[in-house]
Structures are given as C-alpha cells and as structure tokens.
C-alpha cells in the first residue's frame, strides 16, 4: 500500500507549512500557505486511494475502461483546488507587496493599523 508511505510525507508537508505560517514575516507565511495547499491536495489524492500509472481515461471506442483506473473524483477536486490555490497565492502575494509599500512593514508585529498597540480605552459614558 503506497498510501502508507504517502501519509508521513504529507505529515511533513503539514509540519513545514504550519511552521512557516507561524512566522512573523509575511513572505514566510506565504510560502507556508503554498506548501499547505500542496499538502492538502496530496491528502485528498491519497485518501481517494492511489492506483499506479493508470489515468482515468476510457480507451477510444469503448464505453467503459477495461481495467481498474485511478479514482477520477479526487483528481477533479484537486484540479480545481490547484487553480484556486494559485489565485489565492497571487492575490496574497500582491496584498503583502502592497502592504509592504503602504505600511512599510513586512513583519506582522509592525502592521498595527487595525489593532493599534496600547490598551483599549473603554467608553465610560452613555
């Protein structure tokens, strides 16, 4: 069962991804998100069970494949996921780039526009 080799590999993908996302550097987080996307794709792929080297294609002229083929469903899901993941990646990249230009910071601790440092001043009136 090749899947049992895949599982630890995917575990490593997740480990690296989480470690990178927990960084304070925006670029590092972006790398982490990309790797997390790959990890999740592989996870879906593996849980759909792996069949070696037989793509889910019906031979010409037949109505049904002759032999066991790879599970087509996870592949369809992942194909969508890869494209959306790419869109997310580019969007986040540009967002980080612009944030860097506007806020002059790539360390999330210096991005305090929405949540300024210092104690909240409770509004003690009606």
């Amino acid at each position: 069962m090749i899947e049992f080799y895949m599982a630890p590999l995917i575990g490593v993908f997740f480990t690296v991804a989480v470690y990178l996302i927990l960084s304070r550097a925006v670029i590092q987080m972006l790398l982490g998100i990309t790797i997390l996307g790959n990890g999740v794709n592989l996870l879906i792929f593996t849980l759909g069970r792996i069949t070696r080297e037989v793509p889910p294609i019906v031979p010409q002229g037949l109505k049904q494949p002759l032999q066991d083929i790879a599970n087509p469903l996870p592949q369809a899901l992942i194909l969508t996921a890869i494209v959306i993941g790419f869109a997310l990646f580019t969007f986040l990249l540009i967002l980080g780039y612009r944030a860097y230009q506007e806020l002059d910071a790539d360390d999330t601790n210096n991005m305090r526009l929405a949540e300024p440092t210092g104690k909240t001043k409770p509004p003690l009136s009606y």
């Binding site: 480990t15 037949l62 869109a87 580019t90 612009r98 806020l103």
Partner: protein, 843 residues
Amino acid sequence: MISDQDLGITLIAIAPFLAAALAPFIHRFTKGHSGWVLAIIPASIFIYLLGFVEQIARGEVVNAGFDWVPSYGLRLSFYLDGLSVTFALLISGIGTFIILYSGAYLKGHVHQGRFLAFMLMFMGSMLGLVLSDNLVSLFVFWELTAITSFLLIGFDHVREASRRAAIQALVITGLGGLALLAAIVLLRQFTGQWDMSAMFGWSDAIKEGGMYLPILLLVIFAAFTKSAQFPFHFWLPNAMEAPTPVSAYLHSATMVKAGVYLLARFNPVLGDTFEWSLILQVFGGFTLLWGAAMAMKQTDLKQMLAQTTIASLGLLVLLIGIGTEVAITAAVLYLVSHAFYKGALFMVAGSVDHSTGTRDIGELGGLWRAMPLTFAAAAIGVAGMAGVPATVAFMAKEEMYAILELSSISDLFTNWTTTLAIVVMILGNAMMMAVGLSMLFKVFFGEMKTTPLKPHEGSLSIWIGALVLGGFSIWAGTQLYYFTNTILIPVASSIAGYGVEASLYIKFSMLTTLPFALSTLTWILGVVIFLAIADIRAIMRSFAKNLGWSFDKIFDWLIFGLIKLSARLTDFLHHGRLEIYLYVVFVGFALALILPLFGNFALPTMPPIETISFYEGGIFAMALVGLAAVVMAKTRLVAIVSLGIQGFAVALIFMLFGAPDLGFTQFMVETLSVVILALVMTRLHLDQRDFRAPMEIIRDGGLALIVGVGVTLVMFSVLQTTLDTRLSDFFTLTSVPLAHGSNIVNVILVDYRGLDTLGEISVVLAAGIAIIALIRIRSGGPQTGSGILKKITGGRRKKTAMANKTSKTSKVAKASKSTRAVSSRKASPAKSKASVEKGRKPA
C-alpha cells in the same frame, strides 16, 4: 376558518404598526394636523372595543386568532375578558388623546413624524400585550413595549441624560423580559400549553409541582422590573427624560401597568399561596412608602408625578398580593382611577411646561387665571389623587380600606398583617395627597411669578385630553351602577378567577362606616403633611446628600464595570499579534486532530511493508529535500527556489500515480508561482531570514510537529476504512455513454460539475481584478500610516523611496494648513510620483 372577528381583533394589535409605518409620510403631508389624522386609529380601536363591552359584562369571553406555527401548536391567539378589554380600552382611549396631545406638544419638531410613529408602535405593542392569549406572542409584545419605550425615552438622543435613561430602562425591563421568557418556557414544559387561557385549569397542578417557586419568582421579577417596584424602581424617574406625552402615556397609564397586568393575569394561576402574598405585599407596601416619600423630595412636576406613580404601582401590587375579593375590587378601582388622574396630571405638567418654560414648582405660581382649563383638569386630577368623593378614586380608597374587617378591637392584632397593610396604605395615600396638593397650590395659586415664557392656555389638543380624562374620573365615580357592572365586576372576576360580586354606592350611611373614617384620617394626615412638606423636603434632601450613594450610582457602577471588563477582555483576546492568533488556531486544529484518536483509535496496524521502486522513493526524497530547504534557506531567494523543488516533486507524484492532468497543471502553476514570487521579491528589500528566537523555534516547531503527526495518524486510521466509491463508479461508468467524453476528470469538471468550474473561473477572475485594483490604486499611504513606520534595525534596508513618499505626503497634509498650502500641494504629486517610479526600479 377565519372569521371577521378574528381579523378585527388581530387588527387591533396590528393596525397601530401599520399606521406607524405611514406616520412620517402622513406627517409630511398634513404638517401641523398629523395628530388629528393619526388619532383616528386609536379612536377607531376604542370604538371597536366598546362593541365587546356588553358581551364581556355578561361574563363571556372572546377567543380569536390565527394559526401561527401549527407544527409547534402555536397560535397567534387573543383573549378578550374583562381584564384585557379594560386595559385595551384604557390604552386606546388615553392613546387617542395622547396622539392629539403629541401633535400639538411637539409641533414643529423636526422629527415629529418619527415620534408619532414610535408612539403608535408602542400602542400596538401594548394592545397586543394585553390582548394576547398565546404566551409567546405575549412575550414578543412585552419586549416590543420595552424597545419602543427605549426609542421614546431616548427620543431626544443628543442629550446624554436621555440616552442614559433609555439604556437604563431597556436594561432593567429587558432583564425582566428574559425572566418572563424563562417563566413561559417552564410553564410550557409543565403544562404543554402555550395559551394563557389554557393555564387556568392547571393552577393546582402547577402549585403542587416542583417548578412552582421558580415560575413564581420569574414572573414576579418580570412584573417588578416593568412596574418599577423597589429595588428596580429607579429607572422610572429617569425615564422622565422623555418628552411629556411619553411620560403621560407609557410611564403612568400603560407600560408601567404591564407588570401589574401580568400579576393580575397570573393571579388565578399562581396566586393565593403564601409565597405569592408574602412577596407581593412586602415589596408592594415598601414601594408604596418609598415612592410616596421620594415624591415629597421633588420640586420638578414630572419627577413628583413619576415618584407617586411608583407609589401607586406599589399600592396595586400590594392589593393584588392581599388577594381577597375586596382587595381585588379595590385594585381594579384604583387601577382605573389612577390611569385617569395620573395621565391627566402628566398632560397638565406638560402643558404647564410648554406654556411657561419651566416645571419647577418653586418657579411657578398663580397660573389659574392664565390657564383656566388646565387648572380645571389639574384640580380634578389632584382630587383623584386625594380621593375626594365624586371621583372614582374615592371609591377605590373606600374599597381598599374595607379589607379591614373589624368586629372587635382585638382583630387589629390577630389580623396584624392586614392592619399593617392598612397603615401603610393610609400613610402612602396621605403622602401622595400632600404631593398633589403642593402641586396644585404651588402652581396654580399664590402670586404670579415671572417664568421663561409668558403663561398662556395651549391649543385644544393640549388641554382636551386632561379634561376628558378628568371627566371620565367623575363619570366613573358617579355612574356607579353602570361602572360596576360593565367594568368593575368583569375585571375583578378575571383577576380573581371566579365570579366576584361587588356593589358600589354613595349614601349618607357611609359616613359612619370604618372605611370612611379611615379616609377621613387620610385626608387629615394629607393636609398635615402638605403644610409641613417644605421642611420634610429640606430634611430629605440633606439626608440624601449625606448618604453618598443611590441606586443610580450602583447602576452606573455595574454598567461601567461591565464596559471595563469587556475592554480588558478585548485587550486580552485582541492583542493584535497575528502569529499568536494563528498559534491559537493551529492549537485548535491540533486538538481536533489528536483528541478523537484517543477515543476509538488503536494505533493502526502496521501496513504490509511494500517495496517501492527507486524512482518513487527518489521523488519522495526530492519533496523532503525541497521542504527542508525552504525552512533552512539562508536567503529568501533560495527559499523561493526550494519552494519550486517541492512543488515539482508534487507534480511528479501526480504524474506517477495516474493523474497526468494534475501533474501538468501543477508544473505550470509551480513555475509561474516561482517566477512571480522571484519578480516581486526583487522589488522588496526584506530581511533575508526569518528571525525567531530559539524559544519561538521550539514553540512553533513543536506545534507544527504535533499537527504533522496528527495528520499522519488520522490518515492512517482513515486509510484503514473501506473507500466508498459509488460516486467515482458512477462517473466512470457514465462518462462515455452520457457525457460523450473519455477523459473522465475533464468530463467531471466541464459537464457533471460544470457550474462549480464556472465558480472557479469566477474566483480566479475576481482575484485578478482585485490584484489590478491593488496595484493601480495608490492612496499615498493611510492617514495614520506614518506613525507606524517599521523600526530600522541593523542589516535592514535603507529607507526606500516609498517611505519618503509617505512622509512627504504627511508633510504636505501639514503644510496645507498654512497659507502656502496651494503651491506646495500642486507641486508635491509630481514629486512623489517621481519618487514612486524610482522606487519601483530594482535596487
């Protein structure tokens, strides 16, 4: 079947809301006469309700309504008996004059249309509340009265005192509303009924069941908060911040009576027990004395009236608590008479305020000549307050003193609770009478004083209401036979839960009875207190000054404490450090992965060892190398290239295991990603490394490792279950015959799940548009942006042109205040644009 009657009765509660929706428009078209137009609604409701009086007087009840949520057995049902119809008559009758009064009182106010809409909404809620049979709709209307009261008290929302009073009333009555909801749920659990009328048969079962005390306490809490009983009374005087029509309507005649109504309604179900009478008598009696005493302290007309209203509500609660036939008859009489005289007096207070510009009795005097009609209304009102014969209040007082049945002097001691109640009532009534007298004499007699405005009689709408209410007070106090049979007996019977007998009369033989003697005592006491009221006031004020605390202060302390607590909680939860937020998220993720494994997870039996071919192993190794390199990379560029390595490894895995489409897509995406990332990176001047303290590396790495292991273990346990392939099989078998495509993955994407793919394309498109927007739109930095420039540390880049630009624009903003602003502003965009261009070039 829906009959006309169902529709008509439902419309009583709904029509005011419809009118409220139209009120602002009606006001716009009719201007100064909107009061007259809108008063048609309550007037017609009043007339419609009058049609039921005869039927109710015969002892019948009317049920009406619609199915609401039939699957839960909920009906929007209404129940008309003596109690509810009398309340509804008071609400719509007084409401008619209040709407008229509001039309004149707030004439020319910018938001008069809104005000009238609020008033009508309140009227609808109040009518719905008293007519509801279904407890759920009763609760909904109950809360609606609290909300509309909030809107009305806070009508003048530019003043903080007004906002505070509105919030205070909402908080306190809102708490009561929650208690009512809890009580309703408990009642429903116990009886399986939603309808009030169905509860009457359950009285004994509820009292014997274990849930009696909780239900009782919740109902009483709800009633006490709404009807301003001690210690929840303090919101009512503050509610006088509302415009006077609101005080006259909500805070004397209707809404504050809702609590009393609730107690009266539940009396047949929950009443007549030791707990019931104890709690109601103690709190009612105390509230009576408290309110009457506090009223003497005031010099503001509305405050005096508000405090005596608290006292009157206490008296009503006390009488319901006593609960004998006589006491309930007295409560009904007092309820009606109070609605008449207190509503009238509030309108008088408003019209005095309106025409003189002040409400302080110290600044007023001798107004009877200038405002004869208002004076007449005030005189009848105060006569009611004092219980002068010929007003219905006199009968009320006679009846409440009649609860003392004395056959010998020793009865005073054996029935000491009744004696105590009588003493409390005499004291309370006397104090209220003194307050009423001081209002009448200070304001209308004595010498004229100069007031902010020149006193004059208001228009018809201003004085008609008070005068008509006074007229009713005398009508009910003289037409005793008719009043007794149409109002008194039906109402008293619905409160008591059985047929009450009562007959009222005025004759000379009364003069020798005990109640009359007690009434006389009250009058004498009242006059005595009136003569000494100035001294009493001075003493009470100095006492209150020295006391240093009040219920208001406690309320503020609680509310501000809550606000401070939330501020602290906010600081704790919203510390603004993204990596900690994410850490918490991933801790949750790790727990979600690991915890379920402990329950039903035996570590997966070791999978059969299978040799994998060298190229498979090689690709796995390549992925691992790529991942490790991303983390270890000394420079950002190396990290990006390493990202490509693991991405290509993933693509190869797809290729090997029967997914060539995925492989191709992955290759393209991965290549593009690396290229774009590298391009952008060259334009940024970032720290080359990800700086983390050793402790942080251990903390983050540990969590990451737990997540990774968790994912692996979960996958192991999932892989040992059998895969459900029904959907995949369906796609495989039907791909060619149905969809005429041999590449099954493609068929799924463009055919079976075609809409999903359209969605996917839209997402990519949206992302593209967003990216263009992000790149094109340049704000020149947020207004506060220059304050958060990142600290320049060693080894970091030089300040870029972008930063220069930011500081420049902020300088420009400052400069624009000076006279030279124009020229510098003109010059700067070009300059800063140039600096942007410079900044874009790779360094």
